[in-house]
């Protein structure tokens, strides 16, 4: 068996951290005010700036941000600076609807994105399609992050904790604290995980900058071993850049768990400040990760795709002769585990609320708040069990699903964004736009046709078609009336 990256002290620290999450779940349970959906899924809408900002931050920066972004930067070089742009742009996406949606949510006590769609359009099919897309995207998110946590734990413990064991253990911890305190527990654990993530990235960045040299001092080496990082951007690169930014601007900003955090703010000022802080975070998280990975590419230029995902761990493992480096490695592992857990728990909470509020409650309108909360908790356990089974049994080849989830999710953006601004917009216009946009996207993604027509993601062109259909249908209806 290989020697793991974590020593005994590191493993004890990780275990203490995981046990503390259950403790937070218990505190969340004790602090709950009533057995209602509003209290369980939105934490009683009482989050201040610190908790709201940190839960938004930890939820948005998944395990993929820490591991996957570094790997992408290693392989794509400076082109991956696009991630700094799109992580800032997500907040721009929120700003197209959040101020008005927040006001509406306070007035009508929304819990899920489905509540808003139902209230705004009063159209069952449209609501069901949007809820289904939300659940699909979130399940995908859960699945891939669970797989990632299994790989990380297996790698850092040198196989002492197996892939399946790691997934099962983490899933049990998450589902326990989530069902104990709901959004309150999830947001509080997210706050700790957010601090760990930020501290981890900044400390590791400082260590690597000092030990491996700055970007400037690595320029000559980089030009020798990774000359392609300095090639002239082609037209295809520019189109790809634009397409990625558009897809993420409209896709991630309408994630159901993000919408729930908008509802959960204590007041408008809290939400406003949290968003302003979120704008700064790509410069403190994504940018340092890209710089670390590119310095890594200069020193370790020949890694394959899988090894490149572990570039940060590789760079740190070569520094173990330095006193205290074991603590930095432990911090990185804790930050990676935290980033993944905060994403999975938020996705799980959002799916459970979508199922309970938008499916179960609609079929059982007489169900009491207590019963609905209980159904939601039970559903969380079943959902987690299914996800764990799929994460362990499905092959990694299903990971292509991650790439298509945003292309599908961004099709619901017009329903959310246009809906809050244009009161006269009809549900039929939104429905036809959504169906055509989805149909177009799936046609290109699931058939032998190119999935990047003219260099754009199919989902981006689908969104364009979606918007054209909405505008045309809306105008035609107005003319005919």
């Amino acid at each position: 068996m290989d020697k793991g990256l974590l020593d005994t002290q590191g493993i004890i620290f990780l275990l203490l951290y995981l046990v503390s999450l259950i403790g937070i779940g218990i505190v969340g349970l004790l602090r709950s005010k009533e057995s209602s959906m509003q209290d369980f899924y939105l934490g009683g809408t009482g989050f201040g700036v610190t908790v709201l900002f940190l839960t938004m931050y930890a939820t948005q920066y998944s395990g993929n941000s820490l591991i996957g972004f570094a790997g992408s930067a290693y392989r794509n070089g400076w082109f991956f600076l696009v991630s700094v742009t799109f992580m800032i742009a997500i907040v721009g996406g929120y700003m197209l609807y959040a101020p008005k949606l927040y006001l509406l949510s306070q007035k009508h006590r929304f819990i899920t994105i489905g509540d808003y769609i139902r209230h705004r359009y009063d159209h069952r099919l449209l609501t069901n399609i949007i809820v289904f897309i939300g659940i699909l995207a979130l399940s995908n998110y859960m699945l891939t992050n669970l797989k990632a946590i299994g790989y990380i734990l297996e790698y850092v413990t040198g196989g002492t904790v197996g892939f399946a064991e790691g997934i099962i253990a983490m899933a049990i911890i998450m589902v326990i604290y989530e069902t104990l305190g709901g959004m309150r527990s999830v947001a509080w654990t997210d706050a700790i995980q957010g601090i760990l993530l930020l501290a981890g990235v900044l400390i590791i960045f400082s260590v690597i900058w000092v030990q491996y040299g700055s970007i400037s001092s690595n320029e000559v080496l980089l030009l020798q071993v990774k000359a392609d990082f300095f090639r002239e951007p082609l037209l295809t690169d520019k189109i790809k850049w634009l397409s990625i930014v558009v897809m993420i601007f409209f896709g991630i900003s309408v994630y159901p768990q993000a919408v729930q955090r908008i509802y959960a703010a204590k007041d408008a000022k809290t939400l406003k400040r949290s968003f302003q802080l979120m704008i700064i975070m790509p410069l403190l998280t994504t940018l340092p990760l890209i710089i670390i990975a590119i310095i890594g590419a200069a020193h370790f230029p020949d890694l394959d795709k899988n090894s490149s995902e572990q570039i940060i761990l590789l760079m740190l493992s070569k520094l173990t002769h330095i006193e205290g480096m074991q603590y930095v490695i432990t911090l990185f592992v804790a930050a990676a585990v935290a980033a993944i857990m905060s994403t999975v728990d938020s996705a799980m909470l959002a799916i459970a609320s979508l199922f309970t509020q938008d499916i179960y409650h609609q079929h059982n309108p007489e169900a009491s708040q207590k019963r609905l909360t209980l159904v939601g908790k039970l559903f969380s356990w079943i959902l987690m069990a299914v996800m764990v089974y799929l994460a362990i049994s499905l092959p990694s080849t299903i990971w292509w699903l991650i790439q298509i989830k945003l292309e599908i999710l961004c099709q619901i953006a017009p329903a959310v964004m246009l809906g809050v601004h244009f009161k006269e917009l009809r549900s039929s216009s939104i429905l036809y736009g959504l169906l055509f946009g989805l149909g177009f996207t799936l046609l290109f993604l699931l058939s032998p046709l190119p999935d990047r027509p003219f260099g754009f993601h199919a989902g981006v062109l689908g969104l364009l078609l979606n918007s054209i259909i909405i505008t045309t249908h809306h105008r035609l209806k107005n003319v005919l009336q």
Binding site: W78, F79, L81, V82, V84, T85, I88, A89, V91, G92, M95, L96, P99, K100, Y102, L103, S214, I215, S216, S217, N218, E219, L222, L223, F229, F230, R231, E232, P233, D237, K238, W241, L242, V245, F249, A268, K272, F275, Q276, I279, I280, P282, L283, L287, V420, H421, F422, K423
Partner: protein, 57 residues
């Protein structure tokens, strides 16, 4: 400003040449600068226009 701010994202496109400068290609400096500019525009727009956004329409 808030609704038009996404147009600033067009400035982040890699449009300049790749001449290295302090370790980064020139276009990368320009993209980072434009992203920073977009961040500042967004922060100011949220500060000044949030209340208008909530009340109009």
């Amino acid at each position: 400003m808030l609704k038009l701010s996404p147009l600033v994202l067009l400035l982040t496109l890699p449009l300049l040449p790749s001449t290295p400068y302090a370790g980064l290609p020139l276009w990368a400096w320009a993209s980072l600068g434009a992203s920073l500019f977009y961040a500042i525009v967004l922060i100011l727009a949220i500060e000044n226009e949030w209340d208008e956004e909530r009340s109009d329409g």
